[in-house]
Point group: C2
């Protein structure tokens, strides 16, 4: 039976109910679930003050469960980055701990990659996904199954249909690329630029998603990555969901498509859409820091990694 610890490294849990539901559901899925001692701690908008959350992170790393699943994102990891014992986190990952989460967890995952080349998993969050009430649809089946396969080591690829190309066109047909998979939440990733916590990946496959960000803000961040030389240094960029933004009367036809088009016109690196990932119910699990192979046939995109991804840190 796989051991799984639920911990809160960033934002506070406003209620205990989603955490209880997540624990129960994960238990029924076959995990031996433990709730970290400070998972429900509260300090202002944080799941405990900085000391409490830092200690939780290190406690989970020392316990080295099979799965370390964050309860939710929010904001908070930025405050800890300069103080995290990266080798402790990396050591657990090398010995089999799958660190899983998304959103603010991007800061942890990219920091781990930058400091130790350690592998972690972009994927669901306990409360947002496994804690969703049955009345609200419960946990998405693809999200659940993909998580289960990623955690037991059997998931070695994800496939999706490219969504940006106009109907009937297949501009990326035949594209093949190998490189390091990295990325996560665009805002959080950009908030690491210029700091020691930003991984310097050349020839990689970068995946990005965001929520509540107007397309002009998404465009500004992507152009920052382009102007910083990050986009041009990648072999491909995979775009997940950019959800929950609100139109403005000033847009006058400007939308996410226009934003992506403006970015694509400034880089030769292909931008592909349709990755099932982000602040949406259906999300795959992706090994951040693993070597992957990208293959496009027509509009079908396959992103595959070897068994290596499950071994943690690459020696």
């Amino acid at each position: 039976m796989s051991s799984l610890i639920l911990f809160t490294p960033a934002g506070v849990l406003a209620q205990a109910q989603p955490l209880k539901r997540a624990a129960k559901r994960l238990q029924s899925l076959g995990f031996s679930v433990e709730i970290d001692a400070s998972a429900l701690a509260r300090h202002q908008r944080f799941g405990g003050d900085d000391e409490v959350r830092l200690e939780a992170l290190h406690r989970v790393a020392r316990a080295a469960p099979d799965v370390a699943l964050a309860t939710r994102g929010g904001y908070g990891l930025t405050r800890l980055l300069d103080r995290i014992d990266w080798s402790l986190i990396a050591h657990s990952a090398e010995h089999g701990t799958h660190w899983v989460g998304q959103s603010d967890l991007t800061a942890l995952q990219l920091g781990l990659l930058a400091h130790t080349k350690g592998i972690s998993w972009a994927g669901p969050l306990a409360c947002d996904d496994f804690g969703r009430a049955d009345a609200d649809g419960g946990v998405d089946e693809i999200t659940r199954d993909c998580f289960l396969e990623a955690m037991d080591g059997s998931l070695e690829a994800v496939g999706f249909r490219e969504s940006l190309a106009p109907r009937g066109q297949t501009p990326h047909d035949g594209l093949e690329a190998r490189g390091l998979l990295w990325g996560g939440n665009l805002t959080v990733l950009c908030s690491l630029l210029g700091t020691p916590h930003f991984p310097k990946v050349k020839g990689g496959i970068l995946f990005l998603e965001d929520v509540n960000e107007h397309p002009y803000r998404v465009e500004r961040m992507l152009l920052q990555l382009q102007q910083a030389g990050v986009l041009d240094a990648q072999k491909a960029v995979l775009l997940g969901a950019f959800s929950a933004w609100k139109k403005s009367p000033l847009d006058r036809g400007y939308d996410l498509k226009a934003a992506i088009s403006a970015v694509q016109s400034r880089t030769r690196t292909p931008l592909l859409g349709g990755l099932p990932f982000g602040h949406v119910p259906t999300k795959v699990c992706l090994p951040v820091g693993a070597k992957v192979e990208l293959v496009v046939q027509g509009r079908e995109v396959l992103l595959a990694w070897g068994h290596d991804a499950h071994r943690g840190h690459e020696h």
Copy 2:
């Protein structure tokens, strides 16, 4: 009579009325006002497409008026940064053109500083300030007078009352610092980090403001600057207004004060509040790229520059 051109380098003007009011009001204040040919151009959410806005910038630089005042901010300069003829802008600034604006104009001002060490002016925007209808209070008197003095070369200092220290305390009493003044909108400034358009200023005086950004986002950006080594490299940080953000039920006591306190605890560089600048009616004019002297007596802060600031580029 000073010549003044109104131009639109970023967001579209939804209506012509504020521009007309601004032109009329600036005329009555003694300027010979010209409205740039594409000031009312429209392309999606932009004041003309990229070519149109880039050409407008260069046209204004070639015309080299006494004052080049942006109509509004919004979003758009990021798209032009890699293509702006910086030496053309710098040449006009050296020969007396005061480039004035704020918000998205921060990208132009910091790019100019990064590429040429040229001086520009953080200050009002034509439509937002001089275009405000009398029914809405018209132009703020301090903003107007400060602008007039900055443009005619007589403004050599601004003073304000420090706002962050608890009542009765004067933690910065006696602080004196000299350095390069730079800064602007925090979001726009951070969007330049890691790119060639970010000025590498050591020992400077950094000023910052923002609008519509929740304190946790302000904190995240300030921590990015801290982790990138930018805050520690400055002699002081002056905080203007951080306006129009909305509280969240998750805040639980977290606010702008908590955010600033979290940042101050991580840097020795003093953070001072109360600078009358930002997305608020009352704003001073500040010479971006000029050498300034900061003096604090009790809670009174004086930021002074020599006549140099008005000569433009320093030789």
